[in-house]
């Protein structure tokens, strides 16, 4: 056992070292890669003809000169759209990103003024648009340069129709990923960038629109570091948060897997029926169940009703002194909420497992346990390792459980938090309850860095990342 454990740690250590070495190599290779790029660029400048230059001036012009009408017009249209965008929104947005507004509004007299947060948002949007513009612009030059090279080598460049059809085959991923990436960029990445930038402003407290917001550099981080109450609370909550995330992920994952395996057994009749019960739990919205559970464990709730009826004294399962019982109830309730979906997931994954492997194992005389550890577990772990990591993150940032079960307590030894609060609850207390958005944003960056380092390391070391095609 100890040997195995040691081996495990050695493995992790090696993995980390490899990863660090990998990062180091990447940086070491940087100058060489840059040199190659520069070289290609110089070649391009030397060889490019007038038509390519035309595309450099105005997108699509070169393509039109090569009589590639459809492509040329598309690029030209993009060029026009971009110009319009920057004239009407983008330019103001980019400048606004630096100033964050100059005229303070006063609603009493109908002076609209500048809304700093909107300006920040539009600024980020404009930067994204500018990057996009650069990408399209280079793609346009590359394209026309490719055409030129083809003619230079006396070949005919691929027709527009052919290029389109490659989008369904070799380049299918480009088409398929465009929409999801766009959506994620606008509704997930943009808000995150916004929040990260907020950490460097004085947004929050009384400084909210219509007041003008300013860049303050690293002030917020300085404030966190110098706050004497901050560090002890952070570490206390962080410890519990790690424990919580590990425990709940472990419980939910293996209980879900166990349930799926149990329901997969040949002897179980009426699988649809048995699987219905966890589905029921899944079907009721989480916040409703949480309110229900809170009431169930409260002093006036049914459990205490039976305890007092049978002559006992009511138990404060979730009250102010109940640190550990609240934590355990939190774990249990979270399991109740999450096991159904992890069972569904495991069921889906297991459905794809090759049953021949079991036959072979049975012929070799492997018992149930052995089959589980040697076939099922590695397979399921392989398929779900990334999911496991995202579940870990989900649990790490599980806001709802303790907000609903035991919100509204500030306990001794904690600054604006209670002993069941997770970092995210603490963050909520500070940033939303108390309106300190910029400090909240700074703290979430700290939390973000910590969690990402942990999970990225695990992810990069996991076989599902390193040998994606094991089972293909």
């Amino acid at each position: 056992m100890t040997a195995k454990l040691r081996q495990f740690f050695v493995k992790i250590g090696n993995g980390c070292r490899q990863w660090l070495a990998h990062i180091g190599d990447w940086f070491k290779a940087l100058p060489a890669r840059f040199a190659v790029r520069w070289h290609t660029f110089c070649d391009f400048l030397k060889n490019a003809n007038g038509k390519v230059a035309a595309s450099c001036l105005v997108m699509g012009l070169g393509q039109l000169l090569y009589h590639q009408w459809a492509k040329g017009l598309i690029f030209l249209a993009v060029q026009a759209a971009m110009v319009l965008f920057f004239v009407f929104v983008g330019a103001k947005g980019l400048v606004g990103l630096f100033t964050l507004g100059t005229v303070e509004g006063n609603a009493w007299y109908g002076i609209e003024g500048d809304n700093s947060v909107i300006m920040l948002l539009l600024g980020i949007l404009s930067v994204i648009a500018l990057v996009l513009y650069a990408v399209v612009y280079t793609a346009n030059i590359r394209d026309v340069y490719r055409t030129q090279s083809a003619y230079d080598c006396l070949k005919t460049p691929p027709t527009f129709r052919k290029e389109l059809s490659s989008l369904l085959d070799r380049n299918f991923y480009k088409v398929a990923l465009a929409l999801p990436i766009l959506g994620v960029c606008v509704f997930c990445v943009l808000p995150i960038i916004f929040m990260i930038l907020i950490a460097f402003t004085n947004y929050g407290g009384t400084v909210v629109p219509p007041r003008l917001i300013d860049w303050v550099g690293l002030d917020n981080f300085g404030k966190i570091l110098t706050l004497s109450d901050f560090a002890p609370t952070f570490f206390r909550i962080f410890g519990w948060n790690i424990l919580w995330a590990v425990m709940s992920t472990f419980i939910n994952y293996f209980a879900g897997l166990g349930l799926a395996l149990l329901l997969n057994r040949k002897c179980v009749k009426g699988k649809v029926f048995w699987r219905l019960f966890p589905i029921l739990a899944y079907a009721v919205p989480g916040f409703i169940t949480l309110i229900g559970f809170k009431f169930m464990f409260s002093y006036g709730g049914p459990i205490n009703y039976y305890i007092t009826q049978s002559g006992g004294s009511a138990v404060g399962f979730l009250d102010i002194d109940a640190k550990w019982s609240s934590r355990l109830i939190g774990l249990g309730v979270n399991a109740w909420l999450c096991i159904p979906s992890s069972m569904l997931l495991a069921t889906g994954i297991l459905s794809n497992l090759n049953t021949d492997l079991y036959e072979a194992a049975r012929v070799d005389g492997a018992g149930n346990w052995k089959q589980f550890t040697k076939i099922t577990l590695p397979y399921v772990l392989f398929a779900t390792m990334p999911v496991l990591i995202s579940q870990f993150i989900g649990n790490f940032n599980n806001f709802g459980i303790f907000y609903f079960l035991r919100g509204g307590l500030y306990l001794d030894g904690y600054f604006l938090a209670s002993d069941t609060d997770l970092l995210i609850n603490w963050l909520y207390n500070m940033s939303i309850d108390n309106n300190y958005y910029s400090i909240g944003a700074a703290i979430s960056i700290v939390i973000f860095i910590v969690t990402s380092v942990i999970s990225l390391t695990v992810y990069v070391l996991s076989p599902s990342y390193r040998q994606e095609d094991t089972y293909q």
């Binding site: 400048l45 030397k46 490019a48 007038g50 390519v52 230059a53 450099c56 001036l57 105005v58 110009v83 920057f86 004239v87 983008g90 330019a91 103001k92 980019l94 400048v95 005229v103 609603a107 009493w108 007299y109 109908g110 002076i111 609209e112 500048d114 809304n115 513009y133 612009y137 009384t206 909210v208 629109p209 219509p210 007041r211 404030k223 706050l227 109450d229 009431f295 409260s298 002093y299 006036g300 709730g301 007092t308 004294s313 009511a314 404060g316 979730l318 009250d319 102010i320 002194d321 509204g408 307590l409 500030y410 306990l411 600054f415 604006l416 309850d433 108390n434 309106n435 300190y436 400090i439």
Partner: protein
């Protein structure tokens, strides 16, 4: 080669110049604003009115809107239900054009909007209700901005805690044994000391209701600061100094406030553990109806809920009218000990709130909105509001006319026995620390059950803790600011 470089650089330079020119030239211009309340009514407009859920449920809002629309039809002004959440935050909705024109909320919620000028200062002296509303009520809506004092809201309804009890559940012989002061009203509902004694009797006698549930005297969750902080106020504590306007002076531990906490601890011991968390608050309606609880404390506007529950329990309207009584808060012993009446009594001072109308700064029709507010706070409609919703009017003329409860609360307000919730935004930071403390305190008498030691068995310990609570609030307000 030159051509390509030239083309590339021209393109990049043009893009940069374009962005700089358009971006720098197109800034917002400030411009002078103008006074909005010109007195000239906007015509053919629709006003969106945010009212509270009770007013909608009981049909008052519909009546109000109909009456207003009829009167102002000649100007083409129509008022409609904003159809939004009653607690909606104007700071979020208003600037983007989604907020209501007129809103009805509590003073702490409304005055929070003043910080960033989301609501307008009102020319209240033009209003019909100006002279009929008590000075204390106007005070809750007054704030200094840029060295000038403005009024931002029109008080409609005073919220203050009241004692609800069941007359039929009084001890049979109360005239003889529970009326020492001989005023014909049972002492149990007049003095906390007697309430305590009676509750203790019920508890020790292990009396049961007809359906076999255990009977309690006074019952109330201590968790909610809104109802609990009054015990501290009654003995000299306060929330913010300078009449609740100075957030740097936090005074829950000032005066003899620890005595108030001691009273609460004693009361908790004659309730049961349900007073620790908030389950009692909602239980109270049906438990009072079933006779399980004799009395509780809550706001006047939920009277109808008690009536509904009692009807559900099978009582007739006459019986309910006769026996469901609301009364002024009982008096507290000066000694701070519910078993010691020797030093006489003090009045209970409780936290209250004033709900009222305010006008959003983002409304396009300020004059029409002001006309609506004037109309809705007129004698006739406030009277109607009182009849339909049972609210306590801020208009003293209406209060005097309807008498009873409304008069009691109005008097309490003017005598300072209702302390209006602070109207400064820092008030948001007091709730959680206080709530934690009150839970801790209510739990204290029951700690031996869980084999723990008492935490607050002396006044000194309570005093110490209250100081810490004040510090906690202070740091919640100022450490991160």
């Amino acid at each position: 080669m030159k051509k390509t470089i030239a083309a590339l650089s021209v393109h990049i330079v043009v893009v940069i110049v374009l962005i700089c020119c358009v971006g720098l030239l197109g800034g917002t211009s400030g411009g002078e604003g103008q006074e909005k309340f010109t007195g000239e009514l906007e015509r053919n407009v629709t006003l969106r009115i945010l009212e509270n859920d009770t007013a909608i449920k009981q049909g008052y809002l519909k009546e109000l809107l109909d009456a207003f629309n009829e009167q102002y039809a000649q100007y083409g002004i129509r008022a409609v239900d904003a159809n939004m959440d009653q607690y909606t935050d104007l700071a979020n909705d208003g600037p983007y054009g989604y907020g209501p024109d007129v809103l009805y909320q509590a003073n702490d919620a409304l005055m929070k909007y003043v910080d960033n000028k989301h609501i307008m200062p009102l020319p209240v002296e033009q209003l019909d209700c100006y002279n009929s509303v008590d000075e204390q009520s106007w005070q809750a809506y007054t704030r200094q901005v840029d060295d000038q004092s403005y009024v931002f809201g029109v008080p409609v309804n005073i919220q203050g805690p009241l004692l609800y009890y069941r007359k039929d559940l009084l001890p049979d012989n109360w005239q003889q044994s529970w009326d020492d002061d001989g005023d014909g009203v049972c002492d149990i509902v007049q003095y906390w000391t007697d309430m305590y004694r009676y509750s203790k009797q019920l508890q020790q006698g292990n009396l049961l209701t007809d359906s076999g549930a255990k009977r309690f005297g006074y019952m109330r969750s201590f968790m909610e600061p809104y109802f609990s902080v009054g015990y501290l106020y009654s003995y000299g504590g306060y929330t913010f100094g300078d009449n609740n306007t100075n957030p740097r002076d936090i005074g829950h531990s000032k005066g003899d406030s620890a005595k108030g906490a001691w009273v609460m601890r004693q009361l908790a011991s004659v309730m049961d553990k349900r007073c620790i968390d908030d389950t009692v608050t909602v239980t109270a309606y049906s438990a009072l109806a079933s006779g399980e609880y004799f009395a509780t404390v809550t706001t006047p506007d939920v009277y109808t809920t008690f009536v509904t529950e009692m009807k559900n329990a099978g009582y007739s309207d006459e019986f309910i009218e006769e026996n469901l009584v609301t009364a002024d808060m009982p008096k507290l012993p000066v000694s701070g000990d519910l078993e010691d009446e020797s030093q006489g009594f003090v009045e209970s001072r409780m936290m209250g709130g004033i709900q009222g109308y305010a006008i959003s700064s983002y409304t396009k029709y300020p004059n029409a909105a002001l006309a609506f507010v004037d109309f809705a706070t007129s004698y006739r409609l406030i009277m109607r509001r009182n009849q339909l919703l049972g609210i306590v009017p801020a208009r003293t003329d209406v209060a005097a006319e309807v008498g009873g409860l409304s008069e009691i609360i109005c008097n309490n307000l003017s005598q300072g026995n209702i302390v209006v919730m602070p109207s400064i935004s820092e008030v948001a930071q007091i709730w959680t620390p206080l709530q934690t403390f009150f839970q801790d305190l209510a739990k204290d008498p029951f700690r031996p059950d869980d084999s723990m030691d008492f935490k607050y068995d002396t006044l000194d310990k309570i005093q110490q803790r209250l100081k810490e609570v004040d510090e906690q609030i202070y740091s919640a307000i100022f450490t991160l600011a």
